[in-house]
Structures are given as C-alpha cells and as structure tokens.
C-alpha cells in the first residue's frame, strides 16, 4: 500500500509519530517511509510543529531569584573566557621567561608579611612542576604584563591548607579588573564552580565572582570591592555559584592575604 495515496492514514500516523506514541516497529516503518517520501516527511514536520505549541501553553510559575544569579554568573564567566581567548593570541607571541625575575620584583614590591606566602608560591610551583608548556608561556606573558603595567596595585596568592599555591590574583583598579590565574593542578568537577570571596573584617563574605574553567580568568571589580580587604578566599559551590548574600555554602579551598603594592 502506498501511504501517500491515503492522506487520512498518513495524517493519523504523522500525528502519533510526532506526539511520540507511535513506537516500536510501526515507528521504524514510518521513519523509513519518511526518508523515501517527501510528503510523509512534510506531514511529520507539520505535526512536530503543531505539538511544539504545547511547550508554550503551560502555566507560568516564577522561578527562585537565585536562578538568574547563577545564569548571570555563568554568562559573565563565559564572556571573560571569550575575551581571554581573543586576548591570548597576541600574548602567546610574547617570549617566555621572566617568572623568577618577576617574582623578585614582586618580592621587593610586597609588604614584609607576604614573604611566607610568596615562598609558598615557589614551593607550589616546584611541586606542580608539571605545568604544560603553553600554560608556562601564558604565565610568562602575564608576568610580562604585570611588569609593564604599573596599575597592578593588589596581589594575592591563594593557597590550600597545605600551603600549596593554587591561584594568583592581581587587581588593576584602573581597568577595574581582577585577574586570576590557576597555578596548581586543582580542577573542580563539571557540576561545580569555584567562587571568589572578599572577606572584609567584621562583615560577611562578599562574592567577587564565579570562575570559569580556564587557567586564566578575568573578573570585573571596583577598587571599593577589594580595598581594605585583608583576605580573599575561594569556595567550592554548585555550578554557577551562589548569591553574594548567601555567603559560601561549600568548603573554602583556597585562601590568602591581599597585599597592596607599596611602589
């Protein structure tokens, strides 16, 4: 029987097929006919379109406000990653090297209290010697940038409880930009996000943003967000992070002092 000669049967089968209730052998036979005859394919498309209207007809219910916060955090991380991707091309061309030299510059620049933390970076870097070459080049490029950008006024090294450095944070108030660089091997699970917090004295933690998966990340922050904040911390949160008012809900993985450059 040629189904294309039986429009009513074709319509019935197409409606069941697109609804999803045509199953098993009947479904496979219909699909075979659709591949063969454009009329059958068209009938299926018509019903797929009709049924898709059902998705528009359900009662509206307001989601919790935190959902938008999570979406926005992920979108901002996405944008930062895209911007980094664009910025990475010229940076990669910069000659590698200078990490140790730059470290010395930093050492001179930082307040005395930072010495122990910076030593932890060195240990951390040696422990995590397995950084890939391209990451090394990125770090070198970042160091180069640090050296040639006098606006960098705040530096922090965030370390875990074994004092292994895992994150380097610099803040450029002129461009309102926090740059985070992963230096350890830590990688959160696909369903988790790292979230950066300012810990101002006598107040609750304040979210500075949610980190994407890249080695090098940029977040927007105002100087008021980091000024007079002695400590930064990173917590492990559900994917997309939590609203600032909630405070960290997961464990604090990395923590470190924020040092203002004296130069």
């Amino acid at each position: 029987m040629n189904i294309t000669q039986h429009p009513d049967l074709l319509d019935r089968l197409a409606a069941s097929y697109a609804l999803g209730t045509l199953r098993g052998g009947a479904r496979r036979r219909f699909e075979a006919l659709a591949r063969e005859h454009a009329t059958v394919r068209a009938a299926a498309l018509v019903w797929q379109t009709r049924w898709s209207g059902l998705t528009e007809l359900q009662s509206a219910i307001d989601p919790a406000p935190a959902v938008w916060t999570r979406i926005d955090n992920l979108v901002q991380a996405d944008r930062a990653a895209t911007a980094m991707q664009a910025a990475r091309v010229p940076q990669a061309a910069t000659a590698p090297g200078g990490w140790w030299r730059n470290l010395l510059v930093w050492r001179g620049a930082a307040a005395a209290g930072a010495m122990a933390t910076l030593a932890a970076v060195v240990v951390g870097m040696q422990v995590n010697g397995g950084l890939r070459a391209n990451t090394g080049a990125q770090i070198a490029a970042l160091q180069q940038q640090l050296q040639t950008t006098p606006q960098i006024q705040y530096v922090a090294v965030l370390a875990d409880d074994k004092a292994d450095a895992s994150m380097l944070v610099t803040f450029d108030p002129k461009n309102s930009q926090l740059v985070l660089q992963r230096v350890g091997g830590f990688q959160e699970g696909a369903d988790k996000s790292l979230q950066l917090w300012a810990l101002p004295p006598g107040q609750g933690p304040r979210s500075l943003g949610v980190l994407g998966q890249d080695k090098l990340l940029k977040l927007v922050a105002q100087e008021g967000d980091v000024k007079e904040v002695p400590t930064l911390a990173i917590s492990l949160e559900p994917k997309g992070g939590v609203p600032s008012a909630t405070g960290p809900t997961g464990p604090v993985l990395f923590k470190g002092e924020l040092i203002q450059r004296m130069l």
């Binding site: 319509d11 019935r12 409606a15 069941s16 609804l19 999803g20 209730t21 199953r23 018509v46 379109t49 009709r50 049924w51 898709s52 209207g53 059902l54 998705t55 528009e56 007809l57 359900q58 009662s59 509206a60 219910i61 307001d62 989601p63 919790a64 935190a66 959902v67 938008w68 999570r70 979406i71 926005d72 992920l74 979108v75 901002q76 996405d78 944008r79 895209t82 994917k239 997309g240």
Partner: protein, 191 residues
C-alpha cells in the same frame, strides 16, 4: 518596546543575544522565565530539578541564539523546545539515578489528574500555531487533554503513561486515540 508584537520583541532580543549582549539576555529572562519555568516544572515535577533545567536552557539560549533565525520557529516555540529537551535529559538521568524518588512523585502526580480543573494553559505569549492547538485542546475532555499533553511533554509511551498515572493501559490508549482523532479534525480547520 511594549508597542511591538511580542514575537518581534523576543526576536529582537534573540538577535542581540546572538551578538553577546548580556543585557538582552536579562530582559529575555524577565519576559519568559516564568513561562519556561512552568514548562520545566510540568515535565520534571521537582523545583530544584526544574531550576537546573531553566539554568541550562538559558545558557543554551545564550550560546545558541545565533542559530535561532534558521529554525524558522516562533521565538517562544524555539525556547520551549530547548527547555523540553533539557528537561527530558534531566528526566532520563533521574529515572536511571533514582527510581524510588520517581515513585513518590508519581503518587503526587496521579492526584492532580483526578480533579477536573478548567484548561489551565497560559496563552499570553503563545504563537498563533500554539493558540490554534490551545483552542482544539480546549474541546477535549480534561483527562484526554492531560494524557495527550503528558505523552508529548514527557515523551512517554502508552505503557509509561499508564504506569505513571495508575490507569489501565487500555484506558490510556483509548483516551489518546480519541483525543488524537478530535484534535486532528479540529487542527485541520486551522491548517
């Protein structure tokens, strides 16, 4: 903006999102999140899971808005299909993960089918094609409308629907067959 046809406002927002305008995404969320959350909740029946679905759907919209125009769909239908697809992923994952939890939720669901409520559908932003479907669904018995809607929204077979709604298989088959016949006759008038 309010003077525009809702579709053109949403299409304009999707164009701006395709150009990575995050303020357009915020506006789109304000305009459509309740509608899309209602859909997600209808499919996964759990607030936390539905919020995850909504989050994933909006990230999909953020990253995929550039392909919207090629779909030739009304904007709400395009977004609705994204939400349904994410929600079905979540349902399948949950069915394999936690079969016991499903059973508890099924009991709650079976009760909502018993009462004969008026057609609860919300058509404020619906496209013309969805409005036609809404008119035709409105002519069905409540129970027929429910099983047909659930079959589509949750991509369930007769057997799965019977099990979930605690109805005899024959009853489900009859309701769907009669519902489909009436709908086909009604929709033919809008073709």
């Amino acid at each position: 903006m309010s003077t525009l046809h809702p579709d053109s406002e949403l299409m304009d927002l999707l164009d701006r999102i395709a150009a990575q305008d995050d303020s357009a995404l915020k506006r789109l969320y304000e305009r459509t999140s309740s509608q899309l959350f209602g859909l997600a909740l209808r499919i996964v029946r759990n607030r936390d899971a539905a919020e995850d679905v909504l989050q994933e759907a909006f990230l999909t919209i953020w990253r995929g808005a550039g392909s919207y125009r090629a779909s030739l769909s009304p904007p709400m239908a395009w977004m609705g299909l994204i939400v349904r697809s994410r929600a079905l992923d979540a349902l399948r994952k949950r069915t394999t993960d936690r079969a016991d939890l499903m059973n508890e939720l099924d009991d709650a669901m079976a009760q909502t089918l018993e009462g004969d409520s008026p057609n609860p559908m919300d058509t404020a932003d619906a496209s013309e094609q969805a409005f036609a479907l809404h008119q035709c669904l409105g002519k069905l018995d409540h129970k027929q409308r429910e099983v047909v809607s659930l079959a589509y929204l949750r991509d369930q077979s007769h057997g799965e629907l019977a099990e979930q709604l605690k109805l005899p298989l024959g009853t489900v088959k009859t309701w769907i067959r009669r519902g489909l016949e009436q709908l086909r006759a009604c929709m033919a008038r809008y073709a």
